[in-house]
């Protein structure tokens, strides 16, 4: 007996309802959707590949020269390529992107839990069939996946350029499989950043403050990295490297920062200590690079930082406070 006048008062919901597991995906999906709409992030991503971009431009001009100027140009290109160690280029690109990765992490993650804390959003999450683990995993994935994507895209772009333009110069053999190494590097690096910012964000109830603290943490820890760099560059002041004079324990300080540990991962996985940017330096006056750290050292710091981030977040997010 349906009435011709529709009943617009409240009615129950009889539509489909999913199971109560995998709620984390709903959270992650929302986070990611929100993040990818942020155009500024894409700009930052493009900027983070600045080293690759400059290299591509240099290569492009040298190639043009080789095409237009005949053997002379060919010579110049070959000379330049001789100085280029491909895996070092990936290392450099990744290292030089670090600051922008940091900014991206900040934007992606600083507010993730902090703003929820302020708005009591946890009450909404936990009064639905979401557990604390769902919540944290969802938030973490919401930072990790976009960050991973944005770390990989410039690398992938450079690799594709290499594959298409320098296949005949031995790129495939020397660097063709490097992309497979860059993936775990980006995965580990993004996981680290995401875990740390998750922990920091959970400690505050204003995204702004969490961001400042994360930046502070980054800057302070980066002080070690910068300090070692300066020590290497300026020590003695005579332009010659005294890296051998610096005790290894102190050199390892280089890796004791958020940037440093990611560079350490990259060095471990790529298996190179790196070289001067833009193929510079050559044999003439090689500024020594900080040597590859022991993989165990790297793994320990990485694990400790990730665990710390998660542990803090786990402690700070309290399911018990849902009511009252």
């Amino acid at each position: 007996m349906s009435s011709p006048i529709a009943d617009l008062t409240y009615r129950g919901y009889d539509g489909p309802l999913g199971g109560v597991s995998k709620r984390w995906w709903a959270i992650a999906k929302y986070q990611i959707k929100k993040q990818v709409k942020n155009r500024f992030l894409w700009v930052l991503m493009a900027a983070s590949g600045w080293y690759y971009a400059i290299m591509i431009i240099i290569f492009f001009f040298l190639e043009q020269m080789a095409v237009n100027n005949g053997p002379q140009g060919e010579q110049a290109l070959k000379g330049f390529l001789a100085n280029i160690v491909w895996k070092d280029q990936f290392l450099l690109g990744f290292s030089f992107g670090q600051f922008l990765f940091f900014v991206m992490t900040w934007i992606l993650g600083a507010a993730s839990i902090a703003n929820d804390n302020r708005a009591n959003a946890l009450l909404v999450y936990l009064s639905k069939p979401c557990t604390k683990a769902d919540y944290l995993l969802g938030k973490w994935l919401g930072i990790f996946l976009p960050l991973l994507l944005m770390q990989l895209i410039p690398t992938l772009f450079f690799w594709l350029y290499g594959m298409t333009s320098f296949a005949s110069y031995g790129f495939v053999g020397a660097a063709g499989w490097l992309i497979l190494k860059m993936i775990p590097i980006a995965v580990l690096g993004s996981a680290l950043s995401a875990s740390v910012i998750l922990g920091v964000s959970s400690m505050f109830n204003q995204g702004r403050i969490a961001g400042i603290v994360f930046a502070g943490l980054y800057m302070v820890s980066n002080f070690f990295t910068v300090f070692v760099k300066i020590a290497i560059l300026f020590q003695g002041g005579h332009g010659r490297s005294r890296i051998a004079d610096i005790p290894p324990a102190l050199l390892n300080l280089f890796y004791c920062s958020i940037d440093g540990i990611q560079i350490a991962i990259a060095k471990n996985i790529l298996g190179t200590a790196g070289s001067q940017p833009f193929g510079g330096g050559g044999a003439r006056q090689r500024m020594a690079e900080v040597p590859v750290p022991s993989p165990i050292f790297t793994a320990l710091i990485w694990l400790a930082l990730c665990a710390a981030g998660w542990a803090i977040a786990w402690r700070r997010v309290r399911a018990v406070e849902v009511v009252g």
Binding site: Y10, G12, G15, I27, A121, V124, T131, V322
Partner: protein
Amino acid sequence: MAVAEIRGLTVQYGRFTALSDFSVDIPEGCVGLLGPNGAGKTTLIKTILGFVKPATGGGHVLGADILREGPLIRQRVGLMPEQDCHIPGMSAVAFVAYAGELAGMPGNHALRRSHEVLEYCGLGEARYRLVETYSTGMKQRIKLAQALIHGPKLLLLDEPTNGLDPRGREEMLELIRSVSHGKNVNVIVSSHLLPDIERTCDQVIVVAQGKLRAQGLIKDLRKVEGAPIDVELKEENPKFMQALQERGVTLLSAHRNIYRVQGKGLPSDVGKIVFDAATAVGTQVRGYDLAQRSLEEAFLEVIR
């Protein structure tokens, strides 16, 4: 058929016992949950949501076990928390839809129903606005909307009128009444404002010191022994008492301009005497009814 049955539940936080050997059957319909602060009300709500790890005892909510099936319970129950809460940076409609997705609704269903529920909660025109910009009254409404989105069979409302002004309170109570009556939604309202409970609920559960103190219809709780009558005068009038006593009506108590009297015979007979007495002393009767305790009086007596 009870909405929730709890059997022999003891919950302890450290040395503090929040609930001790607590058993209750929460009936269908709209039930008021009363109790002073620290009485175990909050713990009971947590129990119904499947959040507590009791020392002993157990129970079922909507057929799901409170010890093992917490998430399942929370999919069937909607909670409107006491504190302000929202998810920052979202418009109302996105927020409520997201809450639906969190409860397991597919995205498109959630969005459709989000519009419907917001419309119903009186936020139809403000649904595209950011929740942060909402006023207190609107924030209460959106909390209700996010609790209703997944069509729960049981709705828990924790202080739903907190911070609302008289107009907002009335609208909120009207909303609660309309969901709880004839829509097949069971409601548990916890509130310190007893008149709100009086207006929305048929039954109450009174909890104090971790124990169930009373349970039953509000009507029964408010009954007064011996059926006396309350007479309200326009103004206080001491002569009125005397006039009553002369006519054989005993005065039980007087509070400002309200007099509780006990006479013999039917209410209408007593009424005649009262009118007569009032006319004799030249005062005006403004109200005349079978005495009822306010729910507040009843409550204070039960928990004492």
